[in-house]
Symmetry: C2
Subunit: 407 residues, 2 copies
């Protein structure tokens, strides 16, 4: 993205400040809405009210049928595309896939991206004030499930006047929310786009999440989750947690291609006592440190728990076919060959279940060396498949508008 910024820094697009790429949604401004409660959560607890922060890109059409909801993953947020200012160095986290002429084409769709409930980017979560105590919620914030997010996203849809999404789209944990949408509100989405996701975590996935949580909670600065009140921050624990996560987002091959065993400092020559440091070490440490300065540890715990708990078919007799027989949307599934966090096998299970439930599904297994992170990164085949599918979604909309006009 920075490269694009540099090369097009002199251009000036109509409607966009100088310096932004031509195919960017441009400068965007987060919005915020507080929904009155009571809002009952899956755990049984009730929020009196809650705030969601969100952004929108593109124009909602007259019959409000072109809405696309973006569900974010573990550490995502509402800023999915565009820039917050002309001097902003980085665009939103999915800018490569959202914008004019991009797979989620803002010339055709009205795109809504939000920070989920429990998040730490402005929506109500562990860093918010608990009205009962007047102090930050911290670890007392109720545990959330994907369905809680889906229910709150449905209230956001109501607010925007969107009765039915053209598509609900998400990668990883976001894909789990998209699938849950298809079961909780079958009539409220026409398409469900599930990328690099799974119907439930494996024991290994849970093990990695648990280790990450242990790194956070065993940091003495965690203070039982009351670090905000006590003015501490379990930075080290969160950095280690992020390092663990980061390794699992990348593939063995991808890490090997990116870093190999290249040294950043030190030497292997005999007689030199200095410690050797591999590039991959400093890279990971940087990733951990920068994350721990910008993300809330309690939110990280809450999000990983929601991942662990997600089990699409639990309430359907553990039968995914029974579960998906309630879906009314069409599905696009995408997986990436080197993704070992949510391997292609996990997406094939979803595809199989959908087919057995007679739900229309398009499934693409995309070659990529980038591991789980591939869903965020440029990849020609992925872009083509994604764009082609979303073009069909847009064409369907246009057809339905034409047929309404004709009637």
């Amino acid at each position: 993205m920075r490269k694009i910024l540099t090369t097009e820094a002199q251009s000036h697009q109509s409607g966009k400040p100088a310096g932004l790429p031509a195919n960017s949604v441009g400068i965007v401004e987060p919005k915020s809405h507080t929904f009155p409660g009571p809002f009952k959560l899956a755990c049984g607890r009730v929020l009196d009210e809650y705030t969601l922060v969100y952004e929108t890109y593109g124009q909602l059409n007259a019959d409000k049928s072109n809405g696309v909801l973006i569900c974010h993953a573990l550490s995502g947020h509402h800023h999915a595309a565009g820039y917050h200012s002309a001097s902003d160095k980085r665009p939103g986290w999915w800018d490569h896939y959202i914008g004019p002429g991009k797979p989620i084409d803002t010339n055709k769709f009205f795109v809504v991206a939000l920070n989920n409930l429990g998040g730490c980017h402005g929506s109500t979560g562990p860093t918010s004030i608990n009205p009962e105590t007047g102090k930050p919620w911290g670890a007392d914030f109720p545990p959330l499930r994907a369905r809680d997010w889906v229910h709150s996203q449905a209230q956001l849809a109501d607010l925007l006047g969107i009765q039915q999404w053209a598509a609900v789209v998400g990668g990883s944990l976001g894909g789990m929310q998209a699938m849950r949408w298809s079961l909780e509100y079958p009539e409220r989405l026409r398409h469900c786009v599930v990328i690099a996701s799974a119907m439930k975590l494996s024991a290994q996935n849970i093990a990695f999440n648990e280790t990450a949580r242990q790194a956070i909670t065993s940091d003495p600065d965690f203070r039982d989750g009351r670090y905000l009140e006590e003015d501490t921050l379990p930075r080290h624990g969160l950095a280690v947690a992020r390092m663990i996560g980061h390794i699992t987002y990348l593939s063995d091959d991808g890490l090997g291609k990116k870093f190999g065993r290249e040294l950043r400092s030190g030497t292997f020559e005999q007689g030199v006592e200095e410690l050797v440091e591999f590039q991959v070490q400093s890279y990971l440490r940087y990733q951990g440190d920068s994350f721990s300065g910008s993300f809330d540890p309690n939110t990280y715990i809450l999000m990983t728990r929601a991942l662990d708990y997600f089990d699409l078919a639990r309430e359907y007799g553990d039968d995914p076919v029974t579960a998906f027989s309630h879906a009314r949307s069409k599905f696009l599934l995408v997986s990436f060959t080197s993704d070992w966090r949510f391997a292609p096998e996990r997406s094939r299970e979803i595809a199989d279940a959908l087919m057995h439930a007679n739900v229309p599904v398009t499934y693409a297994e995309v070659e990529s060396p980038m591991g789980h992170d591939a869903f965020l990164l440029p990849n020609a085949r992925y872009e083509n498949i994604f764009a082609a599918y979303m073009n069909n979604v847009a064409r369907e909309l246009a057809d339905s508008v034409r047929s309404e006009v004709a009637q």
Copy 2:
């Protein structure tokens, strides 16, 4: 192992206390020897003297040709087989493979197992007193390479009067030492047995090790490695480090078969606020906690660094074939299908290099769902291959004794 103890608890074997299995080496006692220095390390620093703790099983034959050296992995030690007392609940870490009638048959071989230099089970290491300061070495203990271990193991061989090992045997990091033996002292071993190992770590391997080290060193109780002096212990950091390691020792499938998504406590029913805990979570926490009570954090750092630094062919123009052209021993290589820490591909690379260097090699890829840990666990095919190979080693010895008598 405990099961065997229980079922044979009533039997009484001649030469063994009641309660020990018939095919155990029985009660063993660690020995200790302090080697006079100066002992120059690969990093350039020099130890004035050092102590190694070791155990031996079986009898050294008259011409001292039946010695088998066991090299341990990351968290191993000298207690590889047998029991330290009749009430000992668990035998040594490789008891399943060392003993009378077992693959490394103590009726035929004189088996030597040691705690490596830098270890924390009695050999000189970070918990030992630095003679220059009178305080524990801590993080000031010199960084070690596999070759330092091999050189010190050669001094142990000298002490025992063993000019040539019948075999040097090791799994994982132990296999790296065995390979290094074949290049550093080509004439001092007849066979080299390398199990679940690699010629060097991948960037992903290093990344996991670095994350584990970060968990330890960022624990405030680490105190720059001087926790012994300051009477603290980075228990939490070491526990997280061990949890990370443990996940990589097991396979995704293995974890899934062992734990699936079974719950230990809590429930998924709506309306219940209690946190859900999966069995795999409590298992990992237990593994981490029990390890952090018995292992030295500085040793863990030192051992993982030695793993990272190991690169068999570095001094041979990065060409494994050139490296192995110096070897004079025969090789047995074993890998396990579900081992993703040192995948079969890594062993195939060793086998290829050996074949191109015209070194005799037997390579077996063993089906196992147990991941990297498979090298420690019962497995009929692995046992058969291992036993058959070691029987040949013993037969060779007998033949060479006969041919010497005939001359």
